[in-house]
């Protein structure tokens, strides 16, 4: 299964693909979606075709309705896939608030303090857990 996916893409070898088929078991035995890497045209030598292009398909999950969803979709998804949310473990509210404030204060996301609170509420509702008191705050460059 794992080898087959990659081989298939190499043999096509023309454009970029994310193929969401199959699963792979990792070291901890958890199941993960497996996808083929995007690959570029490998026609000829690197000195061959002058223009090298790929297409990066998007594969973005749908998000459930809830308070704050509109702000989340408007303010967050403009810069990154919502998969940046769904790949995280469940974090307490303080961690999600720290992440949202980082986006606002450090990266300049166009949201008010009030919107940041509502977005945080939404993130906690879809991928949150109770505060433990010792929640790690987010940092940069992850």
């Amino acid at each position: 299964m794992r080898n087959k996916t990659t081989r298939a893409v190499i043999s096509i070898g023309l454009a970029a693909f994310f193929v969401g088929c199959g699963t792979v078991l990792n070291n901890t035995g958890e199941s993960q979606p497996e996808t083929s890497a995007p690959v570029q045209s490998m026609s000829g030598s690197p000195n061959g075709d002058s223009v090298h292009s790929i297409v990066l398909p998007h594969d973005e999950p749908l998000f459930p309705p809830g308070a704050g969803r509109d702000e989340f979709v408007t303010a967050c998804v403009v810069c990154h896939s919502p998969r940046y949310i769904t790949m995280q473990p469940q974090f307490p509210r303080s961690t999600w608030l720290s992440e949202v404030n980082k986006m606002k204060d450090v990266y300049g996301a166009h949201i008010s303090d009030e919107q940041a609170q509502r977005i945080t509420d939404y993130l906690v509702s879809i991928n949150g857990k109770a505060d433990s008191g010792q929640a790690p705050k987010g940092t940069y460059g992850e």
């Binding site: 794992r2 080898n3 990659t6 893409v9 970029a16 969401g20 792979v24 078991l25 990792n26 070291n27 901890t28 035995g29 993960q32 979606p33 497996e34 996808t35 083929s36 890497a37 995007p38 690959v39 570029q40 490998m42 030598s45 690197p46 000195n47 002058s50 223009v51 090298h52 292009s53 790929i54 297409v55 990066l56 398909p57 998007h58 594969d59 973005e60 403009v78 810069c79 990154h80 896939s81 998969r83 790949m87 995280q88 473990p89 974090f91 961690t95 992440e99 450090v106 990266y107 300049g108 166009h110 433990s132 010792q134 790690p136 705050k137 987010g138 940092t139 940069y140 460059g141 992850e142």
Partner: protein, 350 residues
């Protein structure tokens, strides 16, 4: 590939690829920071610009690099700063990698030193910054630029690769040029490298002043309850090893010889010893080391084991390099960087 995110892309290499010494290009991990990643490059117009504190600014095409400079090749591990982040407890936000944000490849290109010599660096140069074609989605997001000290950049090993495993780099791995910083974390390996700037002062930007920093203490470790006051930019790899077999889901039987295998690497001192344990660390035995492929390559290790009885076994591997650096027993930092805790693989013999 294990699919973490699509925009910008983060793709993780499944562990079974590490049964090969060189990680195939199409399976090499991918990690970008900014939404605007290059998806098309025209080699007729692409130029590598060398400017700043130099006498002779340069604009070099990829053909210029191939034809006018002596090619060098190096086999080197590239590892994401956050590889294995998902194993930190308490969990930290960020790319939730397991062990696959790492790969080993043969990089071919030209040394940064030869480029800088051509550009004739003026006296008093301090840092060299490296920028790629990727662009921020908002004006308020800092462009992703990294820097090395002038001495590091000119050490003859830091290089600009135009080939990866003897092929053009995949676009998602930095086509047409990628900075290769042997022994240092992937954050410095700027992809789609387009601008080199020599600076007469220390480089400063968000991605080095605020991001990609580690606690100043040993092995970048701190306590969640007492965060380090002082931090420094992340730099060279610590020592680690990763099992590639057996798989946790592999069925083992009593009396059946089992080959254990893995990879080990460090920042270039060289792996000198790998020990394995099949009893959760109570006893250790030396693994056999394959031939070294280069000091920046990973080194394969192997050990034979015949489990005598049915039951649960915890396998562990511990690498040590030639200057005595070894792996952690426990580790945490707020960013989830530099994981090198001795790996535990639980298997069942039945």
């Amino acid at each position: 590939m294990i699919f973490l995110t699509d925009r910008p892309p983060q793709l993780e290499t499944p562990i079974h690829y590490f049964r090969q010494d060189l990680t195939p290009n199409e399976a090499f991990f991918v990690r970008w920071h900014l939404e605007g990643i290059p998806t098309s490059v025209d080699l007729r117009t692409f130029r590598l610009n060398v400017s700043g504190h130099v006498r002779q600014p340069l604009q070099l095409s990829v053909d210029d690099l191939r034809s006018q400079f002596e090619p060098i090749s190096i086999i080197a591990v590239n590892q994401c700063s956050g590889n294995s982040r998902s194993f930190f407890e308490p969990r930290v936000p960020g790319g939730q990698w397991k062990d696959g944000a790492v790969g080993n490849a043969k990089w071919t290109g030209v040394s940064v030193k030869s480029i800088l010599d051509r550009a004739q660096v003026k006296s008093g140069a301090m840092d060299v910054s490296f920028n790629g074609l990727d662009a921020p989605p908002l004006a308020s997001v800092a462009d992703f630029v990294k820097a090395l000290s002038i001495d590091h950049a000119r050490d003859g090993e830091v290089m600009i690769a135009y080939a990866m495993n003897d092929q053009a780099l995949p676009m998602v791995n930095g086509f047409p040029l990628r900075l290769v910083v042997p022994g240092w974390y992937g954050t410095y390996w700027v992809k789609a490298l387009s601008d080199i700037t020599v600076l007469p002062q220390a480089f400063s930007n968000f991605w080095t002043d605020k991001a990609y920093r580690i606690p100043k203490g040993p092995n970048g470790t701190e306590s969640p309850k007492d965060l380090a006051k002082e931090t420094v930019p992340i730099n060279r790899f610590n020592v680690r090893s990763i099992f590639v077999r057996p798989d946790p889901d592999e069925t083992l039987h009593p009396g059946m010889p089992t080959e254990m295998e893995g990879i080990a690497f460090d920042s270039g001192y060289g792996i000198r010893r790998v020990e394995v344990s099949t009893d959760a660390g109570a006893t250790w035995a030396d693994a056999r080391l394959d031939t070294e492929l280069g000091k920046y390559s990973w080194r394969r290790w192997r050990a034979s084991w015949t489990p005598k009885q049915r039951g649960e076994y915890r396998l562990m591997a511990r690498a040590t390099n030639s200057v005595g650096e070894t792996q952690s027993k426990a580790q945490w930092n707020r960013s989830g960087f530099m994981w090198n805790v001795i790996q535990q693989v639980d298997v069942t013999v039945k």
